[in-house]
Symmetry: C2
Subunit: 505 residues, 2 copies
């Protein structure tokens, strides 16, 4: 369409997608408007979004810093700029908008263009919205999963089978990962666990594991530790496994959506990339989580198992209780302490012990061990899991002699008490997460919440419901304010509602 | 959620949406990630998208230039920055994603937030995608229209009724506007016509009208000229009528969508804002236009009339032929010349004369004039329309004695000839538009295409099919290349396909 022109470039880190700032006079010459694409030819060629701006002089362009390597160019170079049409994958996005089924090639085209930064946020947003509304069938999701794996690295183990588990998340305090991995590895099976940091939650698994050992490692290190020790507690983000996710999350987050197809493909692609042959999926179910009811949970379980068949992974699902936090602690150091106490032999909080042993038991049974749950409890009680945990921590450059008491939460503490007596009728996960985040979690490691009461327990007026911990006085105050506003505990008498019998005349 | 911090600001025109570049260290403190929102408190407060960037130092922020006035701040000011949650309207967008009907309040919330730059491109893209897929019912579209009007200015005329017409567009060479306006005004009715510049076409009405008079005027000037002369040929973009459109188009354009609800509301809001009481909508129908078939055209006509009833505008629709360009000329000066020739008395091209007189006739009949089409042809033939046209041109600071020969197209011309003999079987509107744009239209006023043959006409090998005009040699060459690649004319023998009768044994 447009006109090719020579332009003097300068690189600045000014945008989170490839962008070319060009003077209005030049944009008319090029024949492009805001959000159109231009191709720029350096040693190599790349495309960028056009941003018409008076900030640059005619004949000059400011390019976002990420384009420097792509072009093989330097500040002051004169490069050719020309109007570029949208990538082919925009047509595939249009097809999904019109509720058509996409082919394997169309799906991998979209994934590849997202990874290569050829699709803008506008287009990725349209893609996710179309996925949210029109969805994908199991065949498309399987192709989507494979496309995600293909755009990243893979880990190839010399040991087989490879066990794995994944929790859909959404429930705070879900600190079972180190316990499950330690039990399974203690039983002689290999579980190379990669976890995430919090996206919108108060504490992801990697956020608390990194309080006692290193979680950032490359794929070779993950392989070496897993094969030697049987387990690992890595942060998946440091490896280039299905990297499309990070780009997609940036757009999902402001929209507050996580389309089913995207979620399923994203989880399974990471498992495929790590070579998992057996997978347990934990589906926390309850109000305020991604999965509000048992019916929805069953539908997800069905999806996972159908996909497992197509992708050749043996998958089993666990629907778990998530109407309130798992255990008592929320926040990095608090969760790490509670988790290690259980490995040390503490029987409390029972909800953490039970959930970890049940999940570990399912994995053990996949590995041919009968009565997996009993075996898991045995390995925990005997200290075998703790020994395995120490080996993992040491392999990840932590202290072999680590004790739960080494983990000291934030020095600023506020006790939140009940304004009335009664029974704990409900606890809002969402509100507790907001309060913990206001206190500084997950970036402030000492920040978080310690619950003193769980659902169904009796509470007297003035007694503590929970403590807020923070590393910072101002954040503690803000968290206290939120606690007063949100009132995450609902305290009622045992008699919730009185239904009178119909009067007889 | 996050932490309030004091930050030193600097303003740069670096983004086409309100953006705050903040150092990674500070973004952790604030508790925000890329594409999250922050509120910034200057003399006034405003929100911006967070862009985590090493380009700024800790303790500093670079804000997009558009925020300077909004904040009432200057370079070097220390302002408060705090994490801000998404505006309420994001919830309404989510509702439309889930195919729920939106209330009047929800719709106006979305429109207001787009106008105020509170919704990002990611969110506007999700909104348009949801509209494209799930649509709106007539009641929602009426509310959408009113919301668009309410976020802009209105023109209040002292004369009534106010006649108007609008073409859905998509057909090149549609230069009827000055002829229609001149005929209607010559009949004593008032038609204050606002037009647009090209978005993706080769020449919008304002693009060619501005070759012979000024089209940029404020609402007061539009009112004064319309009331005095009876007609005006203004560019709507200079007035603040339903300004949300400009922001939405920037996102629609890369996606290549124009959701029905958005299109209807956008057209009618501009007509409501100008106080139209009677409206004729021209629906060009044919392959390569927005409206491919008569069935689709009828559905649009029904929508327009239903909306007219709800919004209290009397609407009639004309379904017009658009399988090939209207008339022979495409491009600013070429179209202006062809248009003025007809006002001067030329009977050709007949397609332009017929279409202009038919549309003008419908408007005259709405105004109570019987046999409107005949009356329109009379006013054109008698020179009354030309006199009225001269008055309009003069009122818009053009030359009263304007002649068609004053308009001289580009000096660089290429004749495109046929490679075979036969009949013109089809002409691709889309390809001609691409070629005209490559030649420089609409920004280069002399650029464009002049057709020598239309559909059904006989063509000998080596005869001219069309000429390309350009103000610039390099662009002409590029347009010639495109013409060779696209081959916009399809020449066949009269016998297109021979169907053999079934053989009898």
């Amino acid at each position: 369409m447009g006109y090719k022109m020579n332009i003097k470039v300068r690189f600045l880190d000014i945008s989170n997608e490839p962008t070319a700032l060009i003077n209005p006079k030049d944009s008319v010459k090029i024949g492009g408007k805001d959000n159109d694409r231009v191709r720029i030819d350096g040693k190599r060629s790349t495309t960028a979004l056009l941003n018409v701006s008076d900030f640059v002089n005619p004949g000059e362009a400011i390019l976002s810093a990420d384009m420097k390597d792509k072009l093989g160019a330097s500040d002051g170079d004169e490069l050719n700029v020309v109007y570029a049409s949208s990538p082919e994958s925009v047509r595939s996005i249009r097809k999904k908008m019109d509720n058509e089924k996409l082919s394997k090639e169309e799906i991998s085209g979209i994934v590849q263009d997202i990874v290569d930064n050829r699709l803008s946020r506008i287009e990725i947003s349209a893609w996710l919205t179309a996925l949210h509304i029109n969805g994908m069938d199991i065949e498309e999701i399987a192709a989507f999963t494979v496309a995600m794996v293909d755009t990243g690295d893979r880990v190839e183990f010399d040991r087989s089978p490879v066990y794995d588990f994944h929790s859909l998340g959404g429930v705070p305090g879900n600190k079972i990962t180190p316990i499950v991995v330690s039990i399974v590895a203690a039983a002689g099976l290999m579980l190379p666990k990669t976890s995430t940091r919090a996206i919108s939650s108060a504490c992801g698994t990697s956020d608390f594991v990194e309080t006692f050992c290193e979680v950032e490692m490359d794929a070779d290190t993950l392989k070496r530790i897993s094969e030697k020790v049987g387990g690992v507690l890595a942060w998946g983000g440091a490896m280039n496994l299905a990297p499309v996710d990070d780009l997609v999350i940036k757009v999902e987050h402001p929209l507050g959506i996580n389309p089913r197809a995207q979620m399923l493909a994203s989880i399974l692609s990471k498992k495929l990339a790590i070579g998992a042959t057996h997978l347990v999926v934990d589906i926390p179910t309850g109000s305020g989580t991604k999965v509000p009811t048992i019916e929805v949970a069953k539908a997800y379980a069905r999806d996972f198992m159908d996909l497992g068949e197509k992708l050749n992974i043996h998958i089993e699902c666990a629907i778990t209780y998530a109407d309130q936090p798992v255990g008592s602690a929320i926040g990095p150091k608090l969760e790490a302490r509670e988790c290690i106490r259980i490995l040390e032999g503490d029987k409390h909080p029972a909800s953490v012990v039970e959930k970890a042993c049940d999940i570990a038991g399912m994995i053990l049974e996949m590995g041919g061990i009968i009565n997996g749950g009993d075996k898991a409890r045995e390995l925990l009680a005997s200290g075998a899991a703790m020994t395995k945990f120490r080996e993992i921590v040491e392999a990840q450059k932590g202290n072999y002699d680590l004790k739960s008491s080494d983990l000291v939460p934030g020095e600023f503490v506020a006790e939140i008490t009940s304004v009335k007596s009664g029974y704990v009728h409900s606890i809002s996960n969402k509100d507790l997460v907001s309060i913990a985040k206001a206190a500084g979690a997950p970036s402030d490691k000492g920040a978080g919440i310690l619950l003193h009461k769980k659902k169904g327990q009796r509470e007297e007026k003035g007694e503590a419901l929970f403590d807020i911990y923070s590393d910072n006085k101002a954040k503690l105050d803000r968290a206290k304010e939120l606690a007063a506003t949100y009132k995450p505990y609902d305290i009622e008498g045992m008699l919730l509602k009185r239904i009178a019998a119909p009067r007889t005349r």
